[in-house]
């Protein structure tokens, strides 16, 4: 028995011990570190100066913020920070041998819930068309003058089955007129005497189907 143990100990593979760091390894390490450091700085700089646009980081294509995406963002930061803590705290640093099942289940719950919520949303025609009832005014120009050219506004709708909108002006009187159906804006006539009206007039488009879906645009009378 003793012999067997001795034989086993003799034939067992020796544990590799790290040798002295050569200048090549050290140089490679510094070059890799410099490169990754620069990439990190560049990324942060571009995010800070908004050349990398994060404005829609947790948004749906419809423009609304998504709770599922927010949750994924939180969990990503938490797992990244936890990994950093356990890799950087020992000496020498080491990558963990396995990722616990609990983390995978956590991310699985989050992702499954996102998929199911998308399924619910896309089970209706409104959801499939982008979900949010929205109106966007398309203005060929935003400047005219009293007695000047008319402006033909149009509206693009989304998330609505009826694309008709009603047009109105604010103020409703004295700054021109707009056709409630077609969106054709006619500036006020130029007075024969006195000063022509100038200033801003607000054009509003409201969905016929859903009154909460509206958009506004400003016309400058110069």
């Amino acid at each position: 028995m003793m012999l067997l143990l001795l034989q086993e100990a003799a034939t067992a593979a020796p544990t590799p011990t790290p040798g002295p760091v050569t200048w090549l390894e050290l140089t490679s390490g510094w070059v890799a570190l410099g490169f990754l450091g620069l990439v990190g700085v560049a990324l942060l700089y571009y995010i800070f100066t908004e050349r990398i646009d994060l404005s829609q980081l947790i948004s749906e294509p419809s423009g609304d913020a998504s709770m599922s995406r927010f949750q994924l963002l939180v969990f990503t930061f938490v797992i990244a920070a936890s990994l950093f803590l356990i890799i950087a705290s020992p000496h020498p640093p080491a990558f963990p041998k396995e990722i616990p099942n609990g983390i995978l289940v956590l991310l699985g719950i989050s992702a499954s819930s996102y998929l199911v919520s998308k399924g619910i949303q896309f089970s209706s025609p409104e959801g499939a068309s982008g979900g949010v009832a929205d109106v966007k005014i398309v203005a060929p120009t935003d400047t005219t003058s009293a007695g000047g050219a008319t402006i033909a506004f149009s509206a693009q709708t989304s998330g609505l089955t009826n694309s008709d909108v009603t047009w109105s002006l604010d103020p409703p009187m004295g700054m021109g007129t707009i056709d409630p159906q077609t969106g054709l804006y006619t500036p006020p006539p130029k007075p024969a005497v006195g000063q022509a009206p100038t200033g801003n007039v607000i054009v509003k488009a409201a969905s016929v189907e859903n009154a909460t879906a509206t958009d506004t645009s400003v016309v400058k009378l110069v």
Binding site: S55, A65, F75, A81
Partner: protein, 122 residues
């Protein structure tokens, strides 16, 4: 001069922290869009304040922070000498709570959809 691995740790730590600060700052100042984060949407396109979303956010932040604190306490502060740290497992109770929170969130969504269909007579 500190060894290479220490400098790498500092750089990665600083990068993660800077990214987190940037994202949080942009969210708080509205530069990252958080519009209607707490609002659900019915089939007819109208929005409603959604308590199920609020509870989901609370659970998300709570699970995230508690996991991070757990990692720090068990794998950094109270780790026996000579032991290799590992990512701690997520407790089953926490997973169950998060699952329940998601079920509440999805149920609210299904309810609003069904309500709109019943109202429309579809």
């Amino acid at each position: 001069m500190p060894p290479l691995e220490t400098i790498v740790s500092w750089i990665i730590g600083l990068f993660l922290l800077s990214l987190l600060v940037l994202v949080l700052y942009r969210m708080l100042t509205g530069k990252i869009n958080t519009r209607y984060l707490f609002y659900g949407q019915r089939n007819d396109g109208t929005r409603y304040f959604s308590p199920e979303r609020v509870q989901l956010m609370i659970f998300t932040v709570w699970v995230g922070l508690s996991y991070l604190l757990d990692t720090y306490e068990t794998q950094v502060v109270h780790l026996p000498p000579g032991t290799q740290p590992v990512l701690p497992d997520v407790p089953t109770k926490t997973l169950a709570l998060l699952g329940a929170s998601h079920i509440v969130y999805l149920s609210g969504k299904i309810y609003s959809m069904l309500l709109a269909r019943i109202t429309k007579g579809v």
